[in-house]
Subunit: 260 residues, 2 copies
């Protein structure tokens, strides 16, 4: 089999340590193309650039790897890779995004730029995986991530993924004991409770920093929060059909304003 083509992106920006770690592992598995944001795009969710222009410039920071930095969001990066950089060429065999500096478990998948790149890959019909390390520190230890990332990408290259599915992979922060293993999970039922730290600028006008606490309502053991807390790698298959299918019958039954 020919070496697979692996498209790499992220949301921390093309100079982040996480993407360097990811690229170095992907080079062992196939031909790598990087299209990543030219600066931080954390928390960008599934944003795309409409009503404004985009820049795309070649980057030479990865040795022996074709790479581009893009002024847009992670979703823009995948769109530009697919429909401009590779337009009439061979398409990627897999899209990988990350490794994110910080957790993207539970509800954070919605806000995650890392996962939006992966989900955009799935929309394009390409198996796709977002990787996050549950350690926000700038000096995060990535030494235990390489083996896990490699195993999962190899498995996806070998078996494919169900149609319309992208994987949200979270890796626990490095501990003194080895990782316990890899578990397929559902998204935990948890949320952020925000606080707004109000301050005043030198002109006396107020501004805010959004902070918050993560609250986990989920006591079960089949979710990603449990896996991470127990030193397992969590793999959540994610979809981009947001339809709450079970609610269709409820509304059809209860509502009196529907036209048939």
């Amino acid at each position: 089999m020919a070496r697979p083509l692996i498209l790499v992106s992220n949301d921390d920006g093309i100079t982040s340590r996480g993407i360097f770690n990811l690229v170095s592992v992907m080079k062992e598995l196939g031909d790598v193309l990087v299209v990543a944001p030219d600066g931080p795009q954390s928390g960008m969710g599934h944003a795309i650039t409409v009503g404004d222009t985009l820049r795309l410039n070649e980057s030479f920071i990865f040795e022996g790897v074709r790479a581009y930095e893009c002024s847009g969001t992670p979703a823009d990066c995948i769109k530009m890779a697919r429909h401009f950089v590779l337009k009439n060429d061979r398409q990627p065999d897999v899209v990988v995004s990350g490794i994110n500096h910080g957790s993207n478990t539970s509800i954070s998948v919605l806000y995650s730029g890392t996962m939006s790149a992966a989900i955009e890959g799935a929309i394009e019909g390409v198996p796709a995986i977002g990787f996050s390390l549950c350690d926000y520190s700038h000096k995060a230890d990535f030494s235990h991530t390489g083996e896990v990332v490699k195993k999962i990408v190899q498995q996806v290259l070998e078996k494919g993924l169900p149609k319309g599915v992208a994987l949200n992979v979270n890796i626990p922060a490095k501990r003194n004991e080895p990782l316990k293993g890899i578990r397929v999970c559902r998204q935990a039922n948890a949320k952020w409770v925000e606080e707004f730290d109000q301050r005043f600028d030198p002109y006396g006008r107020s501004y805010f920093w959004m902070t918050g606490n993560f609250v986990n309502f989920d006591k079960a053991e089949d979710n990603d929060e449990w896996a991470i807390a127990n030193n397992y790698v969590s793999v959540v298959p994610c979809q981009f059909d947001l339809t709450a299918h079970q609610a269709i019958a409820v509304l059809n039954e209860e509502w009196s304003i529907l036209g048939k």
Copy 2:
């Protein structure tokens, strides 16, 4: 029953015609609080502002309505309304977002700032609805939207919504014939195929405008694209649990790298 508290936001910005139309209808139904972006936030998906500051200023553009303009995204607006403006006060009975200038059917729900405000409402446990008019023109005719919007909000205030569900409501552009009715739908299987219009700035450097064509793969009649094409209002119940639950068993069955 006391008049309900209705929280209004959007993604086209607080001065757009769509939110004026929505506020004027909501004033008939309850007490209105507006927290909306201070400028256009289209295509922002579920982005939130992290690593940067937020501004929030009182606005007096809606007569007799308490209103704030926020420098952040639609999701930020709902978070600030919930956790700062209303912190210890009565919480909203319903969140409404829009009326968006342009369609948010099918896959566009992912990119939609309008819907991120609604989904953020659902995350907060409040029944929530995003409204979009399938007409991008600045001079779009909203005259047929008021009655539909009022009916749907009344229905939601009366019956509530299933837990974790927000509604994505799209209203066809005004035609010569009246609307045929309201239908509960699923998200159509369709996508955007992007094109990148490359141009050169006065310094000889290239930049891009993202454009694209919408491609509908879905031939069934139970989806939102069919409803809009046939002059029905579409109501898609949406969820924020992205787990592809049916894929969990597939991965558990097929993968050889899982730790138990």
